[in-house]
Amino acid sequence: MKRDFIIPAVLLIPAIFIQILLIPSISLEGIFPDLVLILVVYFTLRTGQLFGTIYGFAAGFALDLLSGGLLGSSMFSKTLCGFVSGYFYNENKVLINLKTYKLPLIILMAGVINSLSIYFISGFDVKMNMVDVLISRGLLPAIYSAFIGFFAMFFHTGRVLE
């Protein structure tokens, strides 16, 4: 039980450091994957919606503090992502969610929500075409995150029984 709380907390700080130090070097035309988002979705699917919502809030808070960005923007978006990902949580289907194609798909959905909510919070007074926002600021970063999240499938121990 304690492991369910300690491991997410311990993994969060290194993930944030990797996000701000290494991730910018693998960006494609300004599109970045979001490691913290992958972590939030992963642990939400493992532990539950309530935990995921609170973990998203804490992860967003830590990310905003350490990256120097607008304090509250990642808090808002990651809380929402944790909550929405929690709808896919099922204590009988944890392995199915974490070790199959479902994980990248859920990360993709959460990534779109994450990008769009950050846009509305921190890019409030900017003028952009809505389709452009959905594709370049919503879908593309989410696809990149889902691609990275694909490899997270191999981290969880356990076998999926057919």
Partner: protein, 279 residues
């Protein structure tokens, strides 16, 4: 009553927690400019900036060799240019003396390394490894050898954050170097824009954009970028042009801080004027 509340909590606890956390997040967003929040952020930033700088230095070792070669080449090219400019400088000095102009150059540059970058499209921020111990204060322009990058915001003893031009909260007055048309430079999340330009103004793709003397943030005319295209040819009463910045804002690893705040210089002048009037 207690039973009812308990029932509501059991059935809707996820929604209640979500609502509370979202409201708290929005509240914190609105308090970003609050003094206590800023102090707290500065404290956390200064605590974690040191390990960040350590890892950043360790990771950048492999780039040093190619960076070194590139810089040597640039050095050689600049040496040739400097020689030429030295000649012009001598002529300039003689002419200034004749015309009694004041010397307005002589800015101190503080070199710094970029230790972290915020991967957000609207709030581009970089963290650098110099702070108030080197004389950095909030509001100082940050440049590379190519042009303006941004301005310092949070400053601690040994580290600082820089809001780059690709940050939606940064807006500066700039002008077209050729036609002297002035406008506002801002970031819309996708493009750097030269905005508030009358439709009759003479601005063309390829024009150089530099900082304006009207800007209270910049002490001298710094190169910003090149006009690439007109964004809204058929709509509105004012034009917007997209700008390609000279400095590689999100890819730069080394920057310089211009050790001067323009506002204080002009504030000092105004103060002198009022003092003289009172005498």
């Amino acid at each position: 009553m207690v039973r009812l509340l308990r029932q509501i909590w059991l059935n809707f606890k996820e929604y209640i927690v979500l609502a509370l956390l979202l409201i708290l997040s929005l509240l914190i967003v609105s308090l970003n400019e609050n003094k206590q929040v800023k102090s707290f952020r500065t404290f956390v930033f200064s605590t974690f900036a040191a390990p960040t700088a350590f890892f950043s230095d360790a990771l950048s070792v492999s780039d040093l060799k190619s960076e070194n070669l590139k810089l040597r080449l640039e050095n050689a090219e600049l040496m040739l240019q400097v020689n030429k400019l030295r000649e012009y400088g001598i002529q300039n000095e003689e002419l200034r003396f004749l015309l009694r102009f004041r010397d307005t150059s002589g800015y101190t540059l503080i070199p710094a390394g970029v230790i972290a970058k915020t991967p957000e499209s609207f709030q581009s921020i970089i963290n650098i490894n110099v702070g108030s111990s080197e004389g950095v204060v909030m509001g100082m322009p940050v440049i590379t050898d190519l042009g303006l990058v941004g301005f310092t915001s949070n400053v601690t003893d040994n580290f600082s954050t820089v809001k780059t031009l690709k940050n939606s909260s940064v807006r500066i007055i700039v002008k077209n170097q050729r036609s002297r048309v002035e406008g506002i430079l801002k970031w819309d999340g996708k493009n750097l824009l030269f905005t508030n330009i009358p439709k009759t103004a003479d601005v063309k793709p390829g024009d150089r954009i530099i900082s304006s003397e009207l800007s209270s943030l910049l002490p001298t005319q710094l190169p910003i970028g090149i006009v690439t295209k007109l964004e809204n040819p058929d709509s509105g009463i004012l034009n917007e042009y997209s700008i390609k910045p000279f400095a590689e804002i999100t890819k730069t690893d080394y920057i310089f801080i211009l050790k001067q705040i323009s506002g204080k210089k002009s504030n000092g002048l105004e103060l002198n004027y009022f003092n003289l009037r009172q005498q």
